[in-house]
Symmetry: C2
Subunit: 334 residues, 2 copies
DNA sequence: CCGTATCAGTTAACCGCTTCAGTGAACCGC
DNA sequence: GCGGTTCACTGAAGCGGTTAACTGATACGG
């Protein structure tokens, strides 16, 4: 009993059927061979327990059958949705997702992107931390690249699925303004602090337009860490009457801070999030938040990608409009 | 200007240095060559922009430098922690995690496992949906396999990181019993319903020992879906005085159901979860839950794996004891 | 001073599959 | 009945590395 049973190769199948290896290769892929031969080859392969060797195949053909997913930070809820979504979308297609996580580090992201290219992924979905890096253009020239959240600079990507952050900011700010808030704090996330995600630009523009005083502060993504920042903001001498958070998990940190300080939401301070995380409706009070349709974005990105790798590119650019999900965490200022 | 600049190969580096390809291969790995040659080769490689081709390397050597992570269901919070944790642990090691998601389907899990083997991963971390499948033993014979949550049947895996579900159940049940509960509903998750995760066996054993009446019901993982099950349970004629959920997200579903039915927690019904999800402390009321030390498990699994692939296996079996995190969602029965 | 290690490199055979160019044979229209 | 296609398949050259076996030097112990 061999401890490590060697797998059957294409040559053995060729021998068993009396064909050449090339013919077997063709037959297994259902091309350039007669129906009858294909059937014979399949039978022999089955018999021998033959299964194609993906690495050899990738080396010879320059294609791997994998779709790369490069997450800026897999800790983010929405990137997890992306990871789950793409895996699910590929079920039954004999394609697999190769998920890599840059852990929030732009340099690592580029290194991983190179790795994915060398790994001969057939396509790449990326939410670039730095969309202006020249590598993206280079990659987009040699394989389908779908970017999420930002258009890549230069290069002709296979598709872009962008969310309209400007509109999202407007929704939130107008909502708060309409309730009477004039002094709001904005907690942006570190993930949003790349040169190209001009969240605070939008915020400042809206604030000016609406005549509101805003202070923009950067906070970590995890609510536990964001709590400290929130505490500082809420303990400031002229406490803002509302806090607009650039992700729901930051908003959770604000909830924790209000609890610690004995403030009521929305009585003492209104809180508005950004994500519509599934948990947000379950909190007390349920969180008002900008819903940028994460599921829709994920589905769109996967669809564009799958179309692109299957050679029938359709829509190149998808923009999903955000909507405001008004719950009970926002109200008039005290 | 070539549209698709061809990458430099090892042969070109050989030519540039006047060495044989083999010597370059050795030099780049820092073996069987003089310091001086290695330096020269490195310089030439740098100059030519040479980078090793991982696929060719994997084909020739039978190793890929990747560690496979096979998640039963990437929707689970703790498996996401695992995915994040392993990626993070590999930063700077020139190793990458290949994350695949079986989407809760045991058949797909096995298919993916085969795929990972064929992909020549250097090691495999798996949380088997069905630990008794013979494939695991076969895999464990040819590469380091670390299983989480269940020991694999047969085969000598590189390591096992198991959580003591029996102890976890005991903690929760004794807590509820101590508060005076005698009629409790147990919502187990579908993920736990494999032949080998005898959650309900433990539950029934404990119930008998403590003299409690339990009804065990299976619920979906997502809280939105679990809510329906919870509604049925809580609307039953003789409503249980406590609900013990086999994951925090199921407990969230119970929260939602109590809200819908106008029941107070823990006044009308006590709720106990299982996970200590980061959100659980933020709910109203904060959730009492069994903390099985997800972070510790993840770290342990990654450590065991890394040790195994680096050829210095240390601990084969790690058991992390759970603890009970008592918050405000449990109290005496009404 | 000889036999034997050791070191630094070389040669060539793979790893298992794909693909390009080529070869008969059958089939086609005219 | 002949030139031209099409079809089904073969042969062999890769894809870009690794590695076992081998070769000369050089070092070393006795």
């Amino acid at each position: 009993m061999p401890r490590q049973r060697k797998r059957a190769t294409i040559r053995e199948v060729a021998q068993a059927t009396g064909l050449s290896p090339a013919a077997v290769s063709y037959a297994l892929r259902g091309i350039q061979t007669s129906e009858e031969t294909q059937e014979r080859v399949r039978a022999a392969a089955e018999e021998l327990g033959y299964e194609a060797h993906p690495i050899a195949r990738a080396l010879a053909s320059g294609r791997s059958g994998m779709i790369g997913l490069l997450c800026g930070s897999l800790e983010d809820y929405w990137q997890q949705s992306l990871a789950v979504g793409i895996g699910r979308a590929l079920v039954g297609r004999d394609r697999y997702a190769l998920i890599l996580d840059a852990a929030g580090d732009p340099a690592r992201e580029l290194a991983l992107a190179r790795r994915l290219r060398d790994q001969r992924v057939d396509g790449l979905i990326v939410q670039p931390l730095d969309p202006s890096a020249p590598l993206w253009a280079e990659l987009a020239d040699s394989l389908p690249v779908v970017s999420i959240g930002d258009a890549l600079h230069g290069g002709r990507s296979a598709g872009e699925v962008v969310f309209d952050n400007r509109a999202g900011v407007t929704l939130a700010m107008e909502h708060l303004h309409g309730l009477g808030h004039r002094r709001v704090a904005v907690l942006t996330s570190t993930r949003a602090s790349t040169p190209d995600r001009p969240a605070d630009v939008h915020v400042n523009a809206e604030a000016e337009r609406l005549g509101m005083a805003v202070t923009v502060v950067t906070a970590p993504q995890s609510w536990a860490e964001a709590t400290e920042v929130a505490l500082r903001v809420l303990a400031a001498p002229d406490r803002p009457t509302a806090v607009f958070c650039f992700s729901d998990s930051i908003a959770y940190g604000v909830y924790a801070a209000t609890r610690e300080l004995g403030l009521s939401v929305p009585g003492d301070v209104s809180v508005c999030g950004y994500d519509d995380h599934p948990m947000s409706g379950l909190l007390t009070p349920p969180l008002t938040t900008v819903d940028w349709d994460i599921d829709g974005i994920v589905r769109a990105a996967v669809r564009v990608m799958v179309d692109a790798v299957d050679g029938r590119p359709r829509r190149r650019r998808v923009v999903r409009p955000p909507s405001l999900c008004i719950r009970d965490s926002t109200g008039p200022p005290p």
